[in-house]
């Protein structure tokens, strides 16, 4: 059941060009995204009284720096160290719900590709000797989790291919997407391994880009805009920061507690969801989120994704934008922008007919999970 009381309303979204944006700093890219989001919302910047930014590679993305560039003195502002989009959205929604702000601009800009970020670092704290053993990049722990998943549930590489193939197909209908060429099974299997059993198409790209959202109090949204409104109706998080002290950490059974919170607190269940967004630094995330949030049973994701079920026109379209495996690597921000556009019916060839409820599932590496449910009515 979808709650009929919105927590906040998304008034506008903005997405810059993705790929390589040489000559622009991450903060300048974020400002570009702000302009696009403001135009989309159809409001003046004087309405903005809250700013939530997301720390970007190279120590960019700090709210005080970006506010200065934007010429804003917001009543509320904050920077999230890991502002992968759900976390930023949750903070903005809490600021709105508590009255700290009424109209919050959320921004992320990165020039990680142009700046040459090679992601040769451990994804977690490094306290397990990750550097000593060469356990670097998200691909390593993801591959290890995938290998265990294959061992536990018999998933084959041929079945896993459906994730990357589906997202490439979706991306072929998305002008913003970087890997916008469909990929056959044979092409997938011919791709080199990065960290076995993960191949190149299973690992997200490194790209520059920016995205922004304007989220405001539902009453204010009604006053400011007459268009189809997209509301934040439910949100939850879960923690796994104890890392390998948690059982089965790389397959993260603890994410299921976020699904439980959605159900207990808001009454939202998988049956309510028309279109699903899964932040996908690697294809492993897709299997894990489908199971953790109850779209299929434990160990069933390999069969669930077969036969076009998660494709456009399938029973549960996933990452209609192409996700980070095919559109661009933007920490889930583009997933959320796409969800808003889908619920407004603006997605052209890749539009999911009648989509009214979208869910976005994301994580901060293997440490935390977050999910938001958006709805229109």
């Amino acid at each position: 059941m979808i709650p009929d009381q919105p927590l906040a309303t998304v008034l506008g979204v903005g997405t810059t060009a993705q790929g390589e944006l040489p000559g622009l700093s991450p903060d300048e890219i974020a400002v570009d995204a702000a302009l696009l989001a403001l135009n989309d919302a159809g409001i003046d910047k004087s309405r903005i009284d809250g700013l939530v930014t997301c720390k970007a590679y190279g120590n960019f993305g700090i709210d005080t720096d970006i506010a200065r560039l934007l010429g804003l003195n917001p009543a509320y502002s904050a920077t999230l160290d890991y502002g992968t989009c759900n976390f930023s959205l949750h903070l903005a929604t809490m600021a709105i719900q508590t009255g700290m702000a009424s109209c919050v601009l959320l921004l992320y800009g990165t020039a990680q590709r142009s700046m040459g970020h090679d992601f040769s670092t451990p994804v977690a704290t490094g306290v397990y000797g990750e550097r000593d053993y060469g356990f670097l990049n998200i691909a390593g722990p993801a591959a290890m989790g995938m290998r265990r998943y294959m061992h536990d549930y018999g998933l084959t590489e041929e079945k896993l291919a459906a994730v990357a193939m589906t997202f490439r197909q979706n991306a072929s209908l998305n002008p913003l997407a970087i890997r916008g060429k469909p990929m056959s099974l044979a092409e997938y299997l011919a791709e080199p391994y990065i960290v076995r059993p993960m191949r190149r198409p299973d690992i997200c790209m490194v790209s520059d880009g920016g995205a922004g959202l304007i989220v405001c109090h539902p009453d204010l949204a009604q006053e400011l805009s007459g268009r189809q409104q997209v509301h934040v109706v439910a949100m939850a998080q879960a923690g796994g920061q104890r890392s390998f002290q948690n059982p089965n950490q790389l397959n993260r059974p603890w994410i299921g507690t976020a699904a439980q919170r959605l159900r207990d607190r808001y009454g939202v269940t998988p049956e309510d969801i028309d279109v699903l967004y899964i932040q996908d630094p690697t294809s492993l995330w897709v299997l894990q989120m489908l199971e953790a949030y109850g779209f299929c049973g434990r160990g069933e994701a390999g069969d669930f994704i077969a036969g076009g079920r998660i494709g456009l026109g399938g029973e549960l379209p996933v990452n209609t934008n192409g996700g980070q495996l095919a559109e661009s690597y933007m920490w889930g921000w583009l997933h959320l922008c796409e969800a808003v556009r889908q619920l407004r019916g603006e997605c052209g060839q890749r539009q999911v007919a009648g989509a009214r409820v979208a869910q976005h599932c994301s994580t901060k590496a293997f440490d935390r999970a977050a999910t938001s449910v958006l709805a229109t009515w």
Binding site: D118, F119, S120, V127, Y128, G129, E130, R131, D132, Y133, G134, F135, L136, N137, A139, G140, P141, A143, M144, G145, R147, R148, H151, D152, P192, Y193, I194, V195, R196, R242, F244, Q245, Q249, L250
Partner: protein, 143 residues
């Protein structure tokens, strides 16, 4: 070499200057042939990685406890791309569930990477060639 002056129990605010000192003690003991991890003196939680306070009950009282190096591979990743590591590719990284309880990151030597699999029995070898913690490696148990 084991620092014989190091206390067998500790108070996390005072006994060691840093977490790094705990790692140094772990590797010194490993070099001397002993696999030891910290056991909380209050709640008995056996902890890894090294930390000055118990993550379970926050006690600062603990002692080093020698544990068996026998365990099971939880899973394995084989790096084909070099992400700036000092190790030449391909190389394997494993997560080992020690029979004693703690889960350790490591690597298996003496077996081809592609023959490694979850569920295989391994035993610690405390004389690995790697830097830092990587002097702890594992070998497959002989059948």
């Amino acid at each position: 070499m084991v620092n014989s002056a190091a206390p067998a129990t500790g108070d996390f605010l005072n006994r060691y200057g840093s977490e790094e000192a705990l790692y140094a003690e772990f590797t010194a003991r490993a070099r001397a042939g002993e696999l030891a991890v910290q056991r909380c003196s209050d709640c008995s939680y056996l902890r890894w990685p090294p930390a000055r306070a118990c993550p379970q009950c926050w006690s600062g009282q603990w002692r080093w406890e020698p544990v068996s190096g026998a365990g099971t591979i939880w899973s394995v990743a084989v790096y084909e791309r070099k992400y700036g590591s000092h190790r030449p590719v391909p190389y394997n990284v494993v997560l080992v569930e020690l029979d004693a309880g703690p889960v350790m990151l490591s690597t298996v030597v003496g077996t081809p990477d592609l023959e490694l699999a979850p569920g295989q029995r391994v035993v610690a070898d405390l004389a690995g060639p790697g830097p830092g913690l990587a002097q702890l490696v594992f070998r497959r148990e002989r059948p």
